[in-house]
């Protein structure tokens, strides 16, 4: 887009087109340039407007949440920090996000630690979940064998996985490994299930085309199976990511040390509720942003 824009702009002074000429549909680059410019600006306008509209909806949604929060503060929870006091605390926390002091570690560093942990746990989990899902989607034997296992493991709470993992990883990494394992094992399932569905649901028509036109196994994988399964895989990853981010807080509360979840818990224990709620806000906003990233990927995949 930007490339087109620069080309057209550089051509405009070289051949100034009169409006009359521009209106004529035929000759010359001038008309084409103007038409192009008009198209671009129309697109930008439409784009800008839809952006403004979604911004407005976002603002309305946030106001609703803040109002509910404020009402809760005024009625049931007198000790609950109000939106305003939380805001002040948040600003204060964000003013020095990378404070390396061990006792008042900056919120940015805490967040970074959590994100790193989630990335590793979720990444490893996906590396297991996607092949596992493909296997379960492609083979009846694998499905029969693995489905009951996943059904049993899936509902187990991270609060139980963590101590279990602590025992298991006593010799191998201890707490750090246990946190990662807890994230991995709880966030695995949506990707497994969704991938398996994507792989097993390739329409009969496409499989017939592949058979009639002698597609090799590799061609079938690359041109039929994966393109069909991709949106399902991404949807699975999106849900898994949500769970990983949900679980990180729980594991950090149990494991202690560093991280945004631990920060919330620690603030609660220290009686600084504003900090705790500020951490909750940060957790929520980061969760939203992570979800947006996957939403974007999903849209790109579906458009292709």
């Amino acid at each position: 887009m930007s490339k087109i824009a620069t080309v057209t702009l550089s051509q405009v002074p070289a051949r100034p087109a009169s409006p009359l000429e521009a209106a004529r549909p035929v000759s010359g680059s001038g008309a084409a340039v103007l038409a192009g410019l008009r198209m671009i600006s129309a697109k930008a306008w439409r784009h800008g407007r839809s952006y403004a509209v979604s911004l407005l909806w976002g603002a309305a949604s946030m106001s609703l949440l803040l109002a509910a929060w404020q009402v809760a503060c005024l009625t049931i929870g007198k000790d609950l920090p109000t939106p305003l006091s939380t805001y002040h605390t948040l600003v204060e926390l964000l003013s020095d996000p990378f404070n390396p002091d061990r006792n008042s570690l900056g919120i940015g560093l805490q967040l970074w630690e959590s994100l790193r942990r989630v990335a590793v746990g979720f990444g490893l989990g996906s590396l297991i979940a996607i092949p596992l899902g493909v296997l379960m989607g492609a083979s009846h034997v694998a499905k029969r064998l693995l489905d009951p296992i996943s059904q049993i493991l899936r509902p187990v709470s991270p609060l139980v996985w963590f101590p279990l993992a602590l025992v298991a990883f006593k010799a191998a990494g201890g707490t750090a490994s246990a946190s990662l394992f807890t994230i991995l094992i709880t966030s695995l399932w949506p990707t497994v299930i969704s991938t398996a569905f994507g792989v097993s649901s390739v329409p009969e028509d496409y499989r017939t085309v592949a058979r009639v036109f002698q597609f090799s196994r590799d061609r079938y994988l690359l041109k039929v199976l994966i393109p069909h399964a991709l949106p399902h895989i991404l949807t699975g990853l999106r849900v898994s990511m949500g769970i990983a981010w949900l679980v990180i807080v729980a594991t950090e509360m149990l494991s202690g040390g560093v991280g945004i979840g631990f920060f919330a818990w620690d603030s609660y224990n220290a009686g600084s509720y504003e900090k705790m709620v500020a951490a909750v806000v940060v957790i929520g906003v980061v969760g939203l942003l992570l979800d947006r990233v996957f939403d974007l990927l999903l849209r790109r995949a579906q458009r292709a």
Binding site: D205, T208, R211, V212
Partner: protein
Amino acid sequence: MSVYLRLDRLGKEFGRGREKSVAIQDVSLDVAQGEFVALIGHSGCGKSTVLNLVAGLQEPTTGQVLLDGNRVAGPGADRAMVFQNYSLLPWLTVFDNVYQAVDAVFGNLMPRYRKHGVTERYLRMVSLWDHRTKRPSQLSGGMRQRVSIARAFAVQPRVLLLDEPFGALDALTKGSLHEELLHMWSSEAQRRPQTVLMVTHDIDEAIYLSDRIVVMGNGPAARVAEVIGVPLERPRDKRELMHDRTFLLIKERLLELLEEGFSKPTYQSEASAA
């Protein structure tokens, strides 16, 4: 007539035990090379089953399909298919939908540039070369079917299997696609004759396009009811045909056969109700 494609007492059953149903029974047909044969009949008469057996997508329960003397034992590059619902891969461009088939079939037999050339040739034939970067969802039904036709021709099969290819299209689009199909079929024939087996339930279409029409009886356990030759000179003119005696006679006979088959079950159900 030298036989090129032989359907030898084909029978196909689905399911087993109590669920068992016989789709077709004892279907025999000899087709010469370069012949255009239409299979016509009511829905559920097993026309598509016959086509799938020839394609090698299904195994016959009894009998066999012989192509140039060899038993058909699965799908093969010598037979290509056009489907009623186009069956294009939605994530591939128009070009790639054709190219992937060409590449799959010719593989190492042709250098890449030749495979590109073949793809271009057939996309140009259906006048879709300018639309090659589009995806199927950006095309109309008629255009999609043309991509599908180009794909089938591009792998240069010896037998072309058309499964109600124009069933989902409006009359005008259908008409122009008939012309395009015949044009491609006859221009291919100059290099080597291509045998066509087409399933349809459109009587006019069957007469206009084919050399012979195979009328299937009603299912279950459908058999060939009658085979009608179409001794009309090619190239044929649709408007002239409307008044052609031979055309009208064939049409009348087809209507008779198909309505006979159509009215029988109705009559029976009335009788049993009474």
